[in-house]
């Protein structure tokens, strides 16, 4: 049984309301930080905790905070990125819906640490009902003196505003989010300058994911060093994983990054195995934009070690034989799933969500979708597979923002690991319309290289 820090109290009846949350020990971190700690000390605690950004990139949060420029007389902003739109990821939604005060509490502490007097939650447009929940929580926090002017007599003012996006995936990219928050078209900015220097309204800004900011609460309560003891190596603390696909118990789980991928899928505590006794074919462990892995590379790394659900172990082997932790959208595919069709679905998503600002992403994503569509519907050619590879190679790394990479990686990984299936689709155009390629050899154990 893993340790729970974020969702420990999520199922206490009425936790959504202020009274219950406070009774269960809520806002203790605000009291502790405001009474006994200076803003720099809070940042120092977060640094010590080793907390890494939970939005996908996994950049150390304390480091990000310490990069924030602090010129005199210029306001600084904290923006909470609640624009969770990655296919397969729904952890922030769960957190905000069930335990909104945890996010508000984390935001107050983080605002105090960063000196942000106006803090924004930029929330995905489709999460319309959660806006009401958050605003209710903010109103309650205001009424009880956790927000507003001169909080707890420290002289620190803070107000939190919720801003709804219009439902664009690209606005989850931090600079596009800032543009959108300013009321402009959500196009990513060219970096540098980074938001830490010139962000919202050209002022220093920190943009953090919902889960990252919520994790500040246990860090302050426990202390950074205590928090860092949970987990392995540089993957400290707990992580929310939203599991979906062919599993018995889809949902949001909190793990402490010490369990193996195999245990996560098959144990009753988490996913509960694959329904109907089917076999595992592939898995995308971190949301749609991370590389897909076949079953035989998922449980064991190429070196033969057990793969653990944490940042380092999942990315072991690089892109050749590894994947990424990403945002924690765990998608499981059983033996009846078609990887070609799955890749087409993702390609269609990225084509639709590309902002159209830079040419490789705008034109390349559409091209990849069209080719994948041909292959999926039995009109593909052998050369199309190499062409797809060449297109993704020319998109990756050549775009302004990571959306281009996110569109290229799933296609690259699918071709890298499932080339047989693509070729089968091309060679058997008629048969591929009526049945799936199946599991084939994708779960067969891989030969482990002998090390001298």
């Amino acid at each position: 049984m893993g340790r729970k820090l974020l969702l420990e109290k999520a199922h206490v009846p009425g936790i959504r309301s202020y009274e219950v949350y406070r009774r269960e020990g809520g806002y203790a971190s605000v009291e502790k930080a405001f009474k006994h700690m200076s803003p720099d000390l809070v940042t120092e605690e977060v640094k010590k905790s080793g907390l890494r950004g939970r939005g996908g990139a996994g950049f150390p949060t304390g480091m990000k905070w310490s990069f924030l420029a602090k010129p005199e007389g210029v306001p600084r902003y904290l923006v909470c990125n609640a624009d969770e739109s990655e296919p397969g990821t729904f952890k922030d939604r769960y957190l905000m819906e069930f335990i909104p005060h945890l996010l508000i509490e984390g935001l107050i502490v983080a605002s105090y640490a960063l000196g942000s007097n106006r803090t924004y939650i930029y929330i995905r447009g489709e999460y319309a009902w959660i806006v009401d929940i958050l605003e209710q929580a903010i109103a309650e926090a205001n009424a009880n003196g956790w927000l507003g002017k001169n909080i707890m007599g420290t002289g620190f003012d803070c107000q939190i505003y919720v801003q709804r996006g219009a439902g664009a995936y690209i606005c989850g990219e931090e600079t596009a989010l800032i543009e959108s928050l300013e009321g402009k078209r959500g196009n990513p900015r060219i970096k540098p300058p980074f938001p830490a220097v010139k962000g919202l309204w050209d002022c220093p800004t920190v943009v953090n994911n919902v889960e990252t900011l919520a994790a500040v609460v246990p860090i302050i309560n426990l202390g950074g060093e205590e928090y860092a003891k949970i987990g392995i190596g540089k993957s400290t603390g707990t992580k929310l994983i939203s599991a979906c696909g062919n599993i018995n118990k889809p949902g949001v789980f909190e793990i402490d990054m010490t369990i193996s991928v195999e245990e996560f899928i098959y144990s009753e505590e988490y996913c509960g195995g694959i329904p109907n006794g089917k076999k595992l074919k592939a898995c995308i462990p971190g949301g749609s934009s991370v590389p897909i892995l076949p079953a035989n590379l998922l449980f064991k790394t190429a070196k033969g070690d057990t793969r653990i659900m944490n940042y380092e172990s999942l990315s072991d082997g690089g892109f050749a034989t590894g994947t990424m932790m990403g945002s924690g959208g765990f998608i499981v595919l059983d033996e009846d799933q078609c990887v070609v069709r799955h890749t087409l679905t993702l390609a269609r998503f990225y084509r639709h969500e590309s902002c159209g600002q830079c040419s490789p992403c705008r034109e390349g994503t559409g091209w990849m979708e069209k080719i994948l569509k041909n292959i999926e519907y039995g009109k593909g050619k052998k050369s199309d597979i190499d062409l797809l590879w060449d297109i993704q190679r020319k998109i990756e790394g050549n775009t302004i923002c990571p959306l281009g990479d996110a569109a290229a990686w799933p296609v690259a990984a699918a071709i890298r690991h499932f080339r047989d299936e693509f070729e089968w689709h091309v060679d058997n155009p008629v048969e591929s319309q009526s049945r799936n390629f199946g599991l084939a050899h994708y779960a067969d154990p891989r030969p482990v290289p002998v090390t001298a």
Partner: protein, 359 residues
């Protein structure tokens, strides 16, 4: 003693140059000139905030600076990356850059209609130049090119959305030259388009400049539409006293007729002085202008083929040959003959001359 401004030393394709801090790699490369300057489809030095989008100017940074000589992992957009002291940049000497640029050109041409034979921009189109210089022959794209619903921008400016490469230059132009921008980019991704949302005509006094900044034939001059190919015209520099703008323009003539008026452009195809709509669209007579002389046209440009720059009147040699004596009329034919009456003006005869005309 005033402290001397420190210059940054930057090496681009093995050529070292000293530039002021804050210069972009692209501008440093342009100072060197020639093939070292990366192509730019969206960057426009006169428009603030432009650049970074088309990705044709990607370069490899082999060493970040003297202080931190690590190479940058990704190719960077040279138009939006500033030089550091001791930076080493590879443009055409980098395989990666050439490969990536190849890809970008292919992407840009993917949905481009390639209707150059009927496009008014042909001959002065940056996308044409780019694809000749950096592209491959043929495309691997086998699908229908995208189309858009026609959108009218008023009496002066013709929009062909299918040709657009979404460089955003016209958006920046309208933002920075006019007091109110009425057009912009609608929608997103490969279905993004330039439009006014609710059909409006672009009628600001300086909006005509969007035609000059457009690198392709997406925005063209309606008053010049299908009138002539640019390489048949002869560009001449001219000016007039204009109360609104500098009045410094290029006239595109054929014979005495002014076919169109544009702003003057520098060697990178960028406008030197913005001009107003009146100069551009209304003053289409040679009488409106003071001609300064033929415009300098690069020898790379197809426009130079019909151009009379450098052409000189042949020297009058007769006087020299006759040792300074002027030629003398020995006999006037009209003294002895009734043929070819000087009173008959040949140019005023309807049709070819006939013996009846001289009766």
């Amino acid at each position: 003693m005033a402290e001397e401004k420190k210059l940054f030393k930057v090496t681009i394709d093995n050529i070292t140059i000293e530039v002021e801090p804050g210069t972009s790699i692209l501008n440093a490369a342009r100072m060197i000139g020639g093939d070292v300057a990366p192509p730019a489809m969206c960057y426009y030095s006169k428009l603030k905030g432009s650049g970074g989008k088309c990705r044709t100017c990607l370069v490899e940074v082999a060493a970040g600076s003297t202080a931190d000589p690590r190479p940058m992992p990704k190719l960077v957009a040279s138009c939006r990356t500033n030089v550091m002291d001791g930076m080493v940049v590879k443009n055409i000497t980098s395989e990666r850059v050439i490969d990536a640029r190849n890809g970008v050109v292919e992407f840009l041409l993917l949905n481009h209609p390639l209707d150059c034979p009927i496009c008014d921009q042909a001959g002065e189109c940056h996308l044409q130049d780019l694809s000749y210089d950096h592209g491959k022959e043929g495309t691997r794209y086998e699908f229908n090119r995208r189309t858009f619903k026609k959108h009218d921008l008023g009496p002066y400016i013709q929009l062909h959305m299918t040709r657009c490469i979404l460089c955003y230059r016209c958006v920046f132009t309208a933002d920075q030259l006019t007091n109110k921008r009425v057009h912009g980019v609608l929608d997103r991704g490969d279905h993004a388009e330039i439009a006014t949302y609710i059909e409006k005509s672009l009628d600001n006094d300086f909006i005509g400049n969007v035609i000059d900044v457009c690198p392709v034939g997406a925005l063209t001059d309606k008053t010049f539409r299908f009138k002539n190919r640019v390489w048949f015209l002869k560009p001449v520099d001219a000016h007039r006293d204009c109360p609104k703008c500098s009045g410094k323009v290029t006239l595109w003539n054929r014979g005495d007729e002014v076919f169109r008026v544009t702003a003057r452009k520098d060697q990178w195809g960028e406008v030197e002085d913005w001009i107003c709509n009146e100069c551009r669209f209304e003053k289409k007579s040679t009488n409106d202008w003071v001609i300064e002389g033929p415009t300098k046209v690069s020898r790379q440009s197809v426009i130079s083929q019909g151009h009379y720059e450098g052409l000189k009147m042949p020297k009058e040699t007769l006087v020299e040959v006759l040792d300074g004596r002027k030629p003398r009329l020995l006999m006037d034919i009209h003294d002895v003959s009734e043929v070819n009456k000087p009173t008959v003006d040949l140019s005023k005869i309807a049709g070819p001359a006939h013996s009846d005309d001289f009766k």
